[in-house]
């Protein structure tokens, strides 16, 4: 009896896992927003002056055409900040949509390497690519977002 139950439970788990995998691999990618937002928080300038090491932007940044393809950088600080070639006044936002895959490299003093790299990836095809995109998104997306 218990053995039969165990087999049933195992079968159910396998079926559910396969179903979830199939969904992740084939369901169209849709996110609530196509924007990937980075915020330069209030007080960044004074923290930089104190010498506190800050990660304002990760590098590289990945965007995906058709899914998450709008980069938004907002300056919530009270002074002007420059991110690569983008100069943002206090409370100013730069919003740039990308419609084609590509790679952009900017000189950026905020990065230890001196460069900010931006990858615009092609929309992942249904199947393994889409499954991998979902896993990566789940793993890394949280880290691309900075606390507001």
């Amino acid at each position: 009896m218990t053995r039969r139950l165990a087999v049933l439970v195992a079968a159910a788990v396998v079926t559910l896992t396969l179903a979830a995998g199939a969904w992740a691999a084939f369901a169209p990618l849709a996110t609530g927003s196509r924007e990937l937002t980075f915020v330069i928080p209030l007080g960044t300038a004074s923290r930089l002056k104190e010498g506190t090491p800050l990660t304002v932007l990760p590098s590289p940044i990945h965007l995906t055409v058709g899914v998450r393809d709008v980069l938004v950088i907002t300056n919530d600080d009270e002074v002007v900040h420059q991110v690569g070639p983008i100069i943002l006044g206090p409370r100013q936002t730069y919003r740039i949509p990308f419609r084609r895959p590509g790679r952009f490299q900017y000189a950026c003093s905020l990065h230890a390497t001196g460069t900010l790299t931006l990858f615009i990836d092609a929309e992942p095809a249904a199947g393994l690519e889409r499954l991998r995109w979902r896993l990566d998104d789940w793993k890394f997306h949280g880290r691309q977002q900075l606390p507001r």
């Binding site: 980069l71 420059q82 690569g84 070639p85 983008i86 100069i87 943002l88 006044g89 100013q92 936002t93 730069y94 919003r95 740039i96 949509p97 419609r99 084609r100 590509g102 952009f104 900017y106 000189a107």
Partner: protein
């Protein structure tokens, strides 16, 4: 909820939606700054002789980019694309100014820069100066520059790595868009068109009470009619009416009626100047628009669409009533 309440709610929902729809319609394809701020001003010597000051270019959309004449690949690409933008604008090309600021003052003298930018478009302005003059401009626009010697190439043999974005500055002098190198021509054109349309709306020129005098259709030869309007310049700079068109006429000319000791003379004039803060009335017995070659008879109650073109404000449409 009552029917009236539902209608009120529906209206409220629509009103709430309107700004979102409008914002969507005006979405830029290059990277946009929100809210827009004044583009850093500068004055530099131009390749065409004289000086260019950004703040004096108000009324035009300025496409600003940085580069150098020895640039083998990136700069010619950007300039060729900007020439395409201008040519595809057609009649609106005159409302756009392309400005190319040197990142290589050592080699880019004005004559050399002039010859270089002219091969792309005769109206392009190349700006240069000393490093002391150019440095603050590069800094203000976040341009990073790195000189790289070409090994074994001699004393003047070097390349200059530089930011090659296109800065789009609106007719009010605000930096609206920074399009990175590689932004398709279509997208730059799209953004410029948004700004040209907005400039016409925000224009300092206002057209008041336009009307057209009734006219019959003549069986043997096309007839003409006179159009009148009051032009108000609320801006701080003089502007001038330079041409006009009408949907019902083959062509439109600007005329002035003069009373030469009792004899009424009608003369074609090249433009009507409207000083800042002034009202200029186009009225019977003075300036008027001559609608030539009417395509139909004009009777009271009909409306005619007039398009008046100003030197600074560009084309402005007005719906004129036939009286």
């Amino acid at each position: 909820m009552s029917a009236r309440g539902l209608v009120a709610l529906w209206a409220l929902a629509l009103a709430g939606l309107a700004p979102a729809v409008l914002a969507g319609a005006a979405a830029f394809r290059g990277g946009a700054f929100e809210p827009p701020r004044a583009a850093p001003d500068f004055a530099l010597a131009t390749s065409a002789g004289g000086e260019f000051q950004l703040s004096r270019a108000r009324g035009k959309v300025v496409l600003l980019t940085f580069g150098y004449t020895n640039c083998p690949d990136v700069c010619p690409t950007v300039l060729a694309e900007l020439a395409q933008v201008r040519s595809r604008l057609g009649g609106d090309a005159g409302r756009v100014q392309v400005v190319y600021v040197s990142v290589d003052p050592e080699r880019d003298r004005t004559e050399r820069l002039h010859a270089y930018v002219s091969i792309f478009d005769k109206t392009f302005l190349g700006l240069t100066g000393s490093t002391a003059q150019l440095g603050p401009v590069w800094k203000a626009y976040g341009i990073s520059i790195a000189r790289r010697e070409i090994p074994g190439g001699g004393p003047q043999s070097y390349g200059v790595h530089h930011t090659a974005s296109v800065y789009v500055i609106d007719s009010a002098g605000r930096l609206r868009v920074m399009a990175p190198f590689g932004t398709p021509v279509d997208d730059v054109l799209h953004d410029v068109r948004i700004l040209l349309a907005a400039a016409a709306e925000e224009s300092a020129i206002q057209l008041d009470r336009p009307w057209v005098r009734r006219a019959p259709a003549m069986p043997d030869s096309p007839s003409s009619a006179a159009g009148y309007v009051t032009i108000v310049n609320r801006g701080a700079t003089p502007d001038a009416l330079v041409s006009a068109t009408a949907d019902v006429a083959a062509s439109v000319e600007i005329h002035e009626t003069r009373n030469m000791s009792g004899m009424m003379m009608m003369e074609k004039v090249p433009k009507v100047v409207v000083p800042p803060g002034a009202r200029v009335e186009l009225k019977p017995g003075g300036y008027h628009l001559m609608l030539i070659g009417l395509k139909q008879a004009l009777g009271p109650g009909q409306t005619v669409t007039l398009t008046l073109v100003f030197e600074r404000a560009g084309a402005i449409k007005a719906r004129a009533e036939v009286r």
